[in-house]
């Protein structure tokens, strides 16, 4: 097991602060009478004795588990209360304000403490308190009714990204499988584009380059804002610049990251694939790609049959047996045969009539986007695209940061991810110190187990497309929903087209939300169950957002009568006679999760957190991709099966302000979502502590030209709207957003004025099933 040393963590040795200063501080305590100020006021009382409020505190560790970096946290408990939370010593960078605010959450008077039963209209917020026994009786009755009338699949459960611990989503999966197979939803809100592109092309995803950032000399931050989403280690990007390198931020918004970067490039939302294809064209035309790497580590020279449109295999039974044309021998040979001169292009060869190479197919897509065409489509000057392509290709160590960025939550999201993967592989920028393509990364090369065995089911339950949840529920297609169970998530703020989500929740007869707070989704629920927070239950977190497998310790009981997700399911398991499956001790369940990792339970209990990735980790090291051929495979069979081009391409999106159609004339502004420092998705956003340090209302970013033509001034209350709905906020007018684009903040609750997802695009289904929230057209007006 690799152990990380202290890397990038604030510590005495890393500061200008030295022991001498500490000694001075120590000497000064109690010497107030000698200070010059005190001499002027000799009668005043001496300073009070310094009492260390944490001297007798018990210390507990846990992980901060929403969809973020999963920092390890340390709580100080005095007299059964959490009095302080700080970033623990087991992190490769420091935890943020949101994690530390957990010191407030256990005593927040707004926490839910008892089960609540709706006694008014859905959405009214009118509930009455009931006992857990009453709640469990009601759940049991509703579950049995649903199973009897329309089958177990009429119970639909959804988990979100509010807690990546193993005792949440995986326990729900096991519970509902034991129940006989409840339905769920399909469609990833965040990073379907990465899954659909990186898994087939590079062989696996969630492999992380974060520890290589500082070794890079050229970093393209493509459509994401690491100052917020990689907040713990954003300083690594700043060090690239301090070391003489360059950081380029591509984003329609001049973000916090862009302000600290070397350069800001602002394309039209959703056009990133066209821009990357234009860069590929420059790189190929000017022969700036890494030919040796391309031949050795990619399927660029592999042949695709012109008549079938399929890659040619030497052996149909061997999916890795791609073939190439050996220019020296003049014959077709297996791609990994040694001593051949594989041809990247077939012009003038005997193979040209029947075959294309993957390289030629990529170039054919790139050729549609010379820099002039890309300038027209992307709104980025041709000279900038050309320069960016050259700089990236020619840099010694160049990295692309995708980080599940907003650019992939568009109609061309999968193509956008894939074209960047093509570019990186062709330039040989994968598998070395300081290069690569950054996904969100964690422990993915280490497999984990399930805490509770999930029984295999014979029946196939149809899944509800998450982006069309409202329509599916209203039309009872693909199934009728009698019971909806929502945990670790907040559909009313995160799923697209909120009004339709709301209508779905209003129609479902029995909606249960399990949460720590009365969330936007809880408002539209029949029963709300108060769940334990971090430091209030036991868990293990081993997930692809952190390099550390972390023990989540229980420090306190939590407010009122809160129960953990596991305890809720365990009680229900008893009522439905699941046998012993949900009555195993926590140690055994944690051990089940750890079993394939090689970390033992005892080791974890002793160390609290174990780094299983290591500080020197390089994904796809030395160009060894994790595909069957061990090479980057550019031609993607799954896309063809879905009816899309098997080579990444770009076609103008349906919802684009330049389209000459009714939608674009009615709603002529693009809109994109951005993240804020006060929340991770919707988690933390309701905390009063966040109100003290951040904006307290949604901010709507407008370009001054767009604002002026609509009579909107900085600070005005404005309404952003389209046919789907409305979102209100305070206008911030200026030049930090591309003209024609509106910036919306993600994650605001109903009680705070409502989510930006009231207007977002609910298209289903694009290539890879990407969420298209950043492909949303709107109009903006001043609030009347």
């Amino acid at each position: 097991m690799k152990q990380s040393a202290d890397h990038g963590m604030p510590s005495l040795s890393r500061r200008t602060f030295v022991a001498a200063a500490a000694a001075t501080g120590a000497a000064a305590v109690g010497l107030a009478g000698c200070s010059p100020a005190a001499e002027k006021e000799p009668e005043k009382e001496a300073s009070p004795e310094v009492v260390d409020p944490y001297a007798n505190a018990q210390v507990f560790y846990t992980s901060c588990p929403p969809e973020c970096q999963h920092h390890n946290l340390k709580a100080y408990v005095v007299d059964g209360e959490i009095v302080k939370v700080e970033s623990s010593e087991m992190n490769d960078c420091s935890a943020c304000a949101r994690g530390i605010s957990r010191s407030y959450m256990s005593k927040d008077p707004n926490r839910l403490t008892v089960p609540l039963l709706r006694d008014g209209e859905k959405g009214s917020g009118s509930f009455k308190e009931i006992t857990w026994d009453e709640a469990f009786d009601l759940i049991e009755e509703k579950f049995r009714d649903a199973i009897e009338t329309d089958g177990v699949q009429s119970i639909c459960y959804v988990t979100g990204s509010g807690n990546f611990g193993s005792m949440h989503g995986p326990v729900a999966t096991a519970f509902f499988a034991h129940l006989g197979g409840a339905s769920t939803t399909v469609g990833s809100l965040c990073c379907a584009g990465t899954t659909a592109a990186q898994v087939p092309i590079y062989g696996q995803r969630f492999l992380d380059t974060r520890n290589q950032i500082e070794k890079s000399d050229y970093v393209i931050v493509w459509g994401n804002n690491p100052s917020i989403s990689k907040q713990g280690y954003f300083q690594r990007f700043e060090r690239v610049i301090e070391n003489g390198g360059k950081v380029v931020v591509i984003d329609p918004i001049f973000t916090e990251s862009a302000s600290k970067a070397s350069e800001w490039i602002s394309p039209w939302p959703g056009t990133d694939a066209a821009m990357a294809l234009a860069m590929i064209k420059v790189v190929i035309d000017e022969e700036l790609y890494d030919k040796d790497y391309t031949l050795a580590h990619t399927c660029a020279p592999c042949l695709v049959d012109k008549s079938t449109g399929e890659p040619v295999l030497e052996d149909e039974a061997d999916p890795a047996s791609f073939v190439v044309f050996d220019a020296a021998g003049g014959e077709i040979v297996r791609h990994d045969k040694s001593g051949v001169e594989a041809a990247l292009t077939l012009d003038g060869t005997s193979a040209a009539d029947a075959y294309s190479t993957e390289f030629e197919l990529i170039y054919a897509e790139a050729a549609k986007w010379d820099v002039a065409a890309a300038e027209a489509e992307c709104g980025v000057p041709a000279a900038d695209i050309e320069r960016l392509a050259r700089e990236y290709a020619q840099a010694d160590r160049a990295m692309i940061i995708q980080n599940m960025g907003g650019f992939m939550r568009t109609e061309n999201g999968t193509n956008a991810v894939a074209t960047q993967l093509y570019l990186a592989a062709l330039c040989g920028h994968v598998g070395h110190e300081g290069d690569g393509v950054s996904d969100a990364g964690g422990v993915n090369e280490v497999k984990t187990g399930a805490p509770i065995e999930v029984p295999k089911l014979d029946n196939t339950v149809p899944a509800i497309p998450r982006f069309r949840f409202g329509e599916a529920v209203l039309n009872e297609d693909p199934l009728k929903v009698n019971v909806f169970w929502s945990m670790t998530g907040n559909p009313m703020t995160q799923w697209p087209n909120t009004n339709m989500v709301r209508k779905g929740l209003e129609k479902i007869p029995f909606v249960v939300t399990v949460d720590q707070y009365l969330t936007s989704t809880a408002l539209y629920s029949d029963l709300v169950l108060p769940v334990a927070a971090q430091f209030e239950h036991e868990d293990v977190l081993a997930n692809h957002r952190s390099h550390w497998i972390q023990l989540c310790e229980k420090a306190i009981d939590g407010p009122g009568e809160v129960k953990s997700d596991f305890d809720i399911f365990a009680e229900l398991a008893g009522r439905f006679d699941f046998g012993e499956a949900f009555s195993k001790p926590m140690e055994e369940m944690i051990s089940n999760v750890l079993e394939p990792t090689g970390v033992s339970y005892d080791e974890l209990v002793e160390q609290k957190a174990v780094d299983v990735v290591g500080y020197d980790y390089i994904p796809y090291k030395d160009g060894q991709f994790l595909t069957k051929s061990k090479k980057a495979e550019f031609w993607v069979a799954a896309w063809k099966k879905e009816g899309f081009s098997p080579i990444a391409t770009y076609v103008r999106a349906e919802e684009d302000a330049r389209n000459e159609n009714e939608l674009a004339s009615k709603y002529p502004l693009f809109s994109v979502q951005r993240k804020t420092y006060r929340s991770v998705h919707s988690t933390f956003n309701n905390l009063e502590w966040m109100d003290e340090v951040c904006d307290v209302q949604p901010v709507i970013l407008l370009n001054e030209a767009d604002a002026e033509s609509r009579g909107i001034a900085d600070g005005d209350t404005v309404v952003v709207y389209n046919d789907r709905g409305e979102h209100r906020g305070i206008a911030e007018v200026g030049t930090r957003i591309k003209q024609g684009v509106v910036g919306l903040q993600n994650g605001w609750w109903e009680q705070q004025g409502g989510s930006s997802s009231y207007v977002t695009n609910d298209k289903w289904k694009t290539l890879g099933g990407t969420h298209c929230c950043n492909q949303t057209l709107v109009e903006v007006k001043k609030e009347a």
Partner: protein
């Protein structure tokens, strides 16, 4: 000899972890904030910049000078410390401080002020804000040392009569000095 804070306005990306770490360390009530992060948006050249400021432990502290019950002391090491037992919650210090550093606690009817985590420093630890900053954009040290080790805008030179012990490495994109924005904000609220 005086301890002061250093803050890297050039690299700070505005996460507010310093403010929240302080609240957690000092177990402050809602509404009480001893370290503020202000956002400075500049149009030309385009910049989004952040300044984190708490008490500047001034050479001539206005809080100490104006406190009617002598609750403030300037320690030999330069830290301006409040004896909270003495505070009567009159808020004279809140009004007197050009930086808005002292903060009135409505629930307790008393005022709090940053003490540079004097107790943590005595135990060899960094102040909570400094320890928590993910970007390592805060430090505490002797002013002589801070001034010689940072290419910086030195607040104590000319900003106010109070002679703050606060060294700022200024964002080169900014046309003005960021601490002046704080002083203007405080003045406009008064």
């Amino acid at each position: 000899m005086a301890l002061g804070f250093w803050m890297n306005n050039k690299n700070c990306y505005g996460c507010k972890t310093c403010s929240i770490a302080c609240k957690s360390e000092k177990q402050l009530n809602n509404g009480v904030l001893l370290r503020h992060v202000i956002e400075i948006k500049q149009k030309e050249p385009l910049a989004v910049s952040f300044l984190s400021m708490s008490c500047n432990h001034c050479e001539e502290p206005a809080c100490l000078k104006n406190c009617p019950v002598q609750a403030y002391t300037k320690l030999e090491n330069g830290i301006v410390q409040q004896n909270h037992d003495l505070c009567i919650g009159c808020q004279t210090c809140v009004e007197a401080c050009p930086y808005g550093a002292p903060c009135y606690d409505e629930q307790e009817s008393k005022t709090y002020k940053c003490d540079m985590c004097v107790d943590r420093q005595a135990a060899g630890m960094l102040p909570a804000c400094v320890a928590a900053c993910p970007g390592m954009n805060l430090a505490v040290d002797e002013m002589d040392s801070l001034q010689s080790s940072h290419t910086a805008d030195i607040v104590s030179d000319d900003a106010t009569e109070t002679q703050p012990n606060f060294v700022i490495t200024v964002d080169p994109l900014l046309k003005g000095e960021p601490d002046n924005v704080v002083v203007e904000n405080v003045a406009s609220k008064a």
